[in-house]
């Protein structure tokens, strides 16, 4: 790790100001950023911790909309009684990771194998930042990339609870990240199926499955569909064909357990 400055502001405005200096970077739970810095693969000159900003932590419900603060830990989401979203959060990493890692950090990082992006996309959630609101569909922009601007902070995520939802994660044997994960949600605007871990484009929706499920919400409705391995990730743990298979199997299991 190289030397850096550390600040822990207590308001979003202060954090935004602190982040305006060159090579400053936001720090959530540090579960991704700190290991990267230890390996000297990242070298911010200033870390701006978001964990001192009270308004960014915690889960609330207002007029049927759930809001999760951007600095809320996975453990807190797991304990918030949010159905499939809580189950998902409760299976991220291990207790140490869940007690530090935050939803804002996970979404900003947009690891192609991360869990939250599948939920956020399937729920059609809104990502709230210090200066705008971004629809989930406009937020993810390929592996490790989002449409966040330099210095922009995710202050919250909000969504309308689905009438039914399930997340099926198939763990990569070494990291226990999602080798592939599928989140199925019945939302007011129809069924949404989001897939993480599989595509070289990062998290994405499987719209063919959504169409089939909107007509017939059952695992059988997906039986006749096939998923193309084209553009799927191939690595040590899974070929493109294997991931394509998992997308379908996990989607069917998610529907069955909704």
């Amino acid at each position: 790790m190289y030397d850096f400055e550390f600040v822990k502001p207590s308001t979003v405005d202060e954090a935004v100001a602190a982040l305006s200096s060159e090579d400053a970077q936001a720090l959530g739970g540090g579960q991704t950023l700190i290991p990267t810095m230890k390996q000297r693969l990242a070298s911010p000159t200033k870390l701006v911790s978001l964990l001192g900003i009270a308004s960014m932590a915690g889960v609330s419900e207002n007029n049927g909309v759930v809001t999760i603060g951007g600095a809320t830990t996975h453990a807190d989401v797991a304990a918030a009684g949010l159905g499939a979203v809580s189950t998902l959060a409760g299976n991220i990493g291990d207790p140490a990771v869940r007690n530090r890692g935050t939803i804002g950090g996970s979404l900003a990082n947009n690891d192609p194998s991360a869990d939250y992006p599948a939920a956020i996309l399937a729920l059609g959630a809104t990502i709230v930042t210090n200066n705008r609101e971004i629809a989930a569909g406009d937020f993810f922009d390929g592996m490790f990339t989002t449409t966040l601007e330099e210095g922009e902070i995710i202050t919250a995520v909000s969504f309308t609870p689905p009438s039914a939802a399930s997340y099926q994660k198939f763990e990569q044997p070494a990291s226990h990240f999602a080798l592939t994960g599928v989140f199925v949600a019945k939302t007011a605007s129809g069924v949404r199926v989001a897939v993480t871990g599989a595509s070289e484009e990062g998290v994405h929706r499987w719209t063919t499955a959504e169409d089939a499920l909107n007509t017939n919400f059952s695992a059988d409705a997906l039986e006749g569909l096939s998923v193309s391995p084209d553009g799927m990730i191939a690595d040590l743990h899974g070929t493109a064909e294997y991931r394509a298979n998992l997308v379908k199997v996990l989607a069917q299991r998610a529907v069955a357990s909704c």
Binding site: Q39, R40, F170, P173, A174, S175, L179, L236, H237, G238, T239, Y242, N245, L246, V249
Partner: protein, 788 residues
């Protein structure tokens, strides 16, 4: 009633008090006044010529004490290999130089090129980034077959090829070939024994220290055998007389074989301590461990089994390529040969066995012994081909094994592959397995799994291993460049408490608990009066260390011999105190009694007399009570057992879950049943890891793809079931005084074939006949698709 003291008692591991409360003292916990920190610049390419190293910028950086390169080690010995294998034509193996720091070329990712020594680790690391190494990259050879092909790039320019040796063992080729030609059935199997990284919890650490006034050196290191390091490094690398070199291996957080070997970092820190006039400390981080600790396994094998019409084995033929990596690590040549070929007969009476092994250099990290070392590779291929044969000819896997077993009344049994098993009872362990694994209930459990939509399979495996790695006479003939005995000193104090100095090294095995049980039992005193001293060449007379499940069988036997000498002398003293004849003195429960009388003195009276010799026959007996013994056995020991594994397979995803695992082992006599069970549990866990999860994967350029825990899958608690283990079948070893055989590696040897046999059983009706380890979900799914 279970014993609560001495041999057979499940005494609690006394060392765990410090390990579990964070009070262990590991090498990295040692900090010496004035120490400096070393950071290694390692090759990032698998093969290349070093055109130049410019360290001027690095030398000018803050805190830098000195930058070392290969030039500083010119004329200094390289890292020696401790075993010389002679090939099928009577020629010795090809043995390349293994410099401490690269000389002109780099040969694997991680090969050390330069080292920065600085005031702090941070400064050393900063400066290491400024060391400018100019390398001309060369094509890398990673695949063994390609490495042996004519015209392949050579890992070592001065060797004739990438072949280290072509070795053979067993029957005459003509006899074996004839047996195959006349056989009723031949089963053939091509398989890979996957390359593993040992991953002990504690990474390697070395601290070198030099005292200019006395001209002596101290090395603190994470080693399984400090005396061996003293010998290898002192005599072959740095030319330091052994009495001027102290090697200390304090608490060591797991070894699994990879901490047996002498490594460049140890030699570097010792050498550099004198060069900079200050102690030098190096601590590996996990990423560095992946590319600098010796790896394990990595065999590619073709095995053939010939059977008669009744399913009796008539001949076995096996041909293996064994990866040595880029250099020969300390015991590397012995692993695929004498620790592998000699076990190819297994527990069976196969009359003809022929083993061929070609050891191959590649541009990868050196490969050496890893828990089981050669014996898991032998067991895996043998037990896989037997299972395949059983299915092909339609015999039940238990029956085919049982009918080919060496029977209990046929010992000692000389196999066609150079070893003689002293004792065993393979039917007994199989019977025990059938009971504890509830084989009879399998059909019911299979039906339950099927009702849930899962396939279920049962895998059986029998293993035998050669443990108590020693007989110096024998290993000398086989190419060992060292003797493999063990020593012990039993030092009794005036008040009767005892320190036992042992050459065995404990890095998790529980010696501090088990060894006192042996001495306490012999003397009839409480275990708490006895402490073990190990891991320091200045305190222990000599030692060959801990590996090959040898500590109790060899080291424990040396302790027995030394304690016998103590008893003999103590009886003399007691006879004097009791005014009786020495021959009439009996020792029981810590009391010396004149046979047939009630005249006795206690252990403490005798030890006090030895050190306060006021009324003492000085003309006949020396004062004091301390004895040393060396023990060198005349054979290996042969633990054996039968294992059963039940798995469920999710056909849609290929995911395998281990549902049940049972192990019936024959370890001979057992000193501490709880510790034995713990060793078996750990071994099975590592074996399941090899079978389902672990894999060190290189790409064709020689980059290690699975170089972190993000990609190298270690077994976790959730990957293993609750085990049923039994060691009640006991045929005591016939040639060591404790009748013990060793239990440290059994689990890792016996479990991988059981797991793979179970998965293949679950998928057999689809037509799956084999899947290479690790049986990852993707591999299992692909095998199912291919069979469909």
């Amino acid at each position: 009633m279970p014993k609560d003291n001495g041999i057979g008692a499940s005494s609690k591991r006394r060392e765990d008090v410090r390990f579990l409360t964070g009070k262990g003292k590991y090498t990295d916990d040692i900090n010496i006044y004035g120490q400096t920190y070393a950071y290694f610049v390692r090759s990032q390419v698998a093969h290349g010529t070093i055109k130049g190293i410019d360290s001027t910028a690095a030398e000018a950086m803050p805190g830098v004490v000195k930058v070392f390169t290969g030039a500083d080690f010119e004329g200094i010995g390289g890292i020696p290999c401790g075993w010389q294998v002679t090939d099928r034509n009577g020629e010795v193996m090809q043995e390349p130089a293994h410099p401490v720091l690269a000389q002109g070329k780099v040969r694997h990712v991680g090969d050390p090129i330069a080292v920065v020594v600085a005031e702090s680790l941070q400064e050393a690391r900063d400066a290491a980034e400024a060391v400018d190494v100019d390398i001309d990259e060369l094509p890398a050879v990673v695949d063994m077959k390609a490495a042996l092909a004519a015209g392949s790039t050579k890992v070592h320019d001065d060797l004739t090829s990438n072949l280290c040796y072509d070795w053979t063992l067993g029957g005459e080729k003509a006899d074996v070939d004839a047996a195959f030609e006349n056989a009723h059935h031949v089963t053939t199997l091509d398989l890979v024994n996957n390359r593993l990284v040992a991953n002990p919890m504690e990474p390697r650490v070395a601290i070198g220290k030099y005292d200019a006034a006395d001209e002596d050196y101290t090395l603190y290191t994470t080693s399984q055998n400090p005396h061996v390091i003293r010998l290898l490094m002192g005599a072959f690398v740095l030319g330091i007389p052994e009495h001027k070199l102290r090697v200390v291996a304090p608490d060591v957080g797991g070894g699994f074989g990879t901490k047996i070997f002498h490594y460049a970092e140890e030699a570097f820190c010792t050498f550099a301590a004198k060069a900079v006039g200050r102690p030098v400390k190096w601590t590996a981080d996990r990423s560095e461990a992946f590319i600098s600790d010796a790896h394990g396994r990595d065999h590619v094998t073709k095995i053939e089994l010939a059977l008669d019409e009744n399913g009796m084995f008539v001949a076995l033929r096996t041909d293996t390529m064994a990866n040595m990596g880029a250099y020969l690590s300390t015991f590397a040549p012995s692993v695929p040969t004498w620790l592998h070929g000699t076990l190819m007969a297994g527990t069976y009476k196969t009359p003809h066995v022929s083993v061929n092994v070609r050891a191959v250099f590649t541009n990868t990290v050196p490969v050496d012994a890893y828990r089981g070392a050669g014996r898991p590779e032998a067991t895996y291929q043998l037990e896989r081909v037997i299972d395949k044969a059983a299915r092909e000819i339609g015999i039940d896997p238990i029956t085919i094994r049982r009918q080919n077993f060496i029977k209990a009344d046929e010992f000692p049994y000389a196999t066609p592959v150079a070893v003689e098993y002293d004792t065993g009872d393979y039917d007994a362990t199989m019977n025990k397995l059938i009971e504890i694994a509830d084989i009879a209930g399998f059909a019911g459990r299979k039906a339950e799994s099927e009702a849930k939509g899962k396939r279920r399979g049962l895998g059986i495996n029998c293993y035998i291993e050669a443990c108590g790695i020693a007989p110096s006479n024998l290993v000398g003939q086989l190419g060992a460049r060292a003797g493999l005995y063990e020593s012990a000193t039993v030092r009794v104090t005036a008040t009767g408490s005892i320190a036992v100095m042992t050459g065995s090294h404990s890095h998790g095995q529980g010696h501090e608990t088990t060894f006192p049980q042996v001495v306490a039992d012999m003397l009839g005193i409480d275990e708490s009066m006895i402490d073990i001293v190990h891991g320091d060449t200045s305190k222990v007379p000599m030692g060959m260390g801990t590996y090959g499940s040898r500590s109790l069988a060899v080291g424990g036997s040396a302790i027995v011999k030394a304690t016998e000498k103590i008893i003999a002398k103590a009886k003399k003293i007691a006879a004097h105190l009791l005014e009786a004849g020495e021959a009439d003195i009996e020792l029981a429960d810590g009391q010396f009694t004149v046979a047939g009388t009630d005249k006795s003195v206690a252990w403490g009276d005798v030890t006090l007399a030895a050190y306060v010799p006021h009324n003492y026959p000085l003309e006949d007996i020396e004062p004091g009570l301390e004895e040393t013994a060396f023990y060198d056995p005349n054979n290996f020991t042969y633990p054996a057992g039968a294992y059963a594994c039940e798995v469920e397979v999710d056909e849609a995803t290929g995911k395998v879950t281990v549902e049940r695992f049972a192990a019936a082992d024959d370890f001979g006599n057992v000193i501490n049943p709880m510790i034995v069970e713990g060793q078996v549990h750990g071994g099975i866990g590592q074996g399941i890891g090899q079978a389902l999860l672990e894999h060190a994967v290189y790409d064709s350029d020689g980059q290690l793809l699975s170089g972190s825990y993000m990609d190298y899958a270690m077994p976790r608690a959730s990957d293993v079931p609750s085990y049923v283990v039994d060691h009640s079948c006991q045929t005591p070893c016939t040639h060591n005084p404790l009748g013990v055989k060793g239990c440290g590696e059994a689990g890792a040897i016996g479990s991988p074939p059981a797991v793979v046999n179970a998965v293949v059983d679950a998928l057999a009706d689809l037509g799956v006949t084999h899947i290479d380890m690790p049986l990852s979900p993707n591999r299992v799914w692909s095998a199912i698709q291919a069979a469909k």
